[in-house]
Symmetry: none
Subunit: 209 residues, 2 copies
DNA sequence: TTTCACCCTGTCCAAAGGTACAATGTGCAG
DNA sequence: CTGCACATTGTACCTTTGGACAGGGTGAAA
């Protein structure tokens, strides 16, 4: 099991070696490709000194390598945490995490888990309520859609026009409209915009009111 | 390290014992209190045969015991997963998870991680992102919008019609249209549906292509 | 066989959305 | 003062959307 620390600064090198005596430290993501030969490992990506607008890309690059990626940030913020995890990272911790913690995190991510600071996870879960709640109400109605209607609804959910949907499903625009009318009725939305939002679990004025 | 499986049915007992030879199986949450004496362990809560409306309570009861709780469901659904994790559970998996998987999950949760099926985690992250940073991916382009244009865009992002926007901002529909044209141009979307989706960080066909 | 849900399509029409061209007013930086 | 970005609105015109009314085809269940 290899531990690869990618950091432009490397100020924490000692701490990292303390956690994993055989850890390697590279100064850029690009160096990952040649830094290793073993089959499994973890990439620890230090983004503390990376400009915010470049972090997403660095994470994506690291993820592309194929190993689980743990992001280490100087000021762990929830918005950034979720964004970077969304890029494919499976862990997000403070750059100053103590060796014991690093080993814990390594265990977690190597076994398919996600890791982030408990307070972030709490926040994460609290948010899920708000995000998920609308779905629950619509899940029921979605089941009332026929298979064809569902296909149309999904296309709309991705921003497709009637013409595009017709082409995609190989039917006429007229038929698309027919399905849409049925969908609006069943889901209780008034137009395609609200349908698109509803399909993506986003509350609309109509839903709220 | 103790593994406590709480299940009213216990149909998976063999599988569980295969994963953890010294696992204990109790038939109710109430039995937890007397079933154990050691200091650390995991509670595996089988809710497959529990009526949906009672599951929250059972999870809470299990969590109150003090050990990490992993919920095992017959039909893992996102809305339920997030709801139960929100009750304090730290894992959510299929009741039919294979022994190897159970051991992986055990490792993860015993080291402070969360575990849920990868596809759920993906979904989770995508959803949370919308709440946390509703407009991040377009931040760059959004900065090019004037303040008035931003107001209009936000209304569209919530499914408002031109008439509603006009009323809300106390301007004419014509002006709304003018702003919208400018918004479409600046953000590179072609209509209000794609704008609404883009404002909520949802990729559209146009974005993909 | 009949009924029924679902899928498909047509015509017509009204409403909403979106663009083009044009103009007025306001406030701010140079 | 002058240029410039921004907000506002108008007219005209075209496209897209959605609803109303109407009908044909198919497969499965009663």
């Amino acid at each position: 099991m290899e531990q690869l620390f990618v950091s432009a600064v490397g100020g924490m090198r000692e701490r990292w070696l303390q956690a994993f005596p055989d850890a390697k430290v590279a100064d850029s993501v690009a160096a990952i490709g040649v830094a290793t030969s073993s089959a499994r490992g973890i990439v620890w990506l230090d983004v503390a000194n990376t400009p915010p607008e470049l972090r997403d890309q660095r994470v994506r690059d690291a993820v592309a390598f194929g190993w689980p990626v743990v992001v280490m940030a100087a000021t762990p913020g929830e918005s950034e945490a979720f964004r970077l995890l969304n890029q494919g990272a499976v862990g997000y911790c403070h750059i100053g995490a103590v060796p014991e913690q690093l080993r814990e995190i390594a265990l977690v991510v190597m076994h398919g888990g996600f890791w982030m600071p408990p307070e972030l996870m709490q926040r994460f879960l609290a948010l899920s309520r708000r995000v998920i709640a609308p779905v629950y109400s619509m899940e029921h109605e979605l089941n009332e859609l026929t298979s064809r209607e569902l296909m149309v609804a999904e296309q709309v959910a991705h921003g497709a026009s009637n013409r595009e949907i017709a082409a995609a499903l190989n039917i006429t625009e007229r038929t698309v409209k027919a399905h849409l009318s049925a969908i609006f009725e069943k889901l209780g939305v008034r137009d395609r915009v609200q349908l698109a939002l509803a399909m993506n679990n986003i509350p609309t004025y109509a839903t709220v009111n």
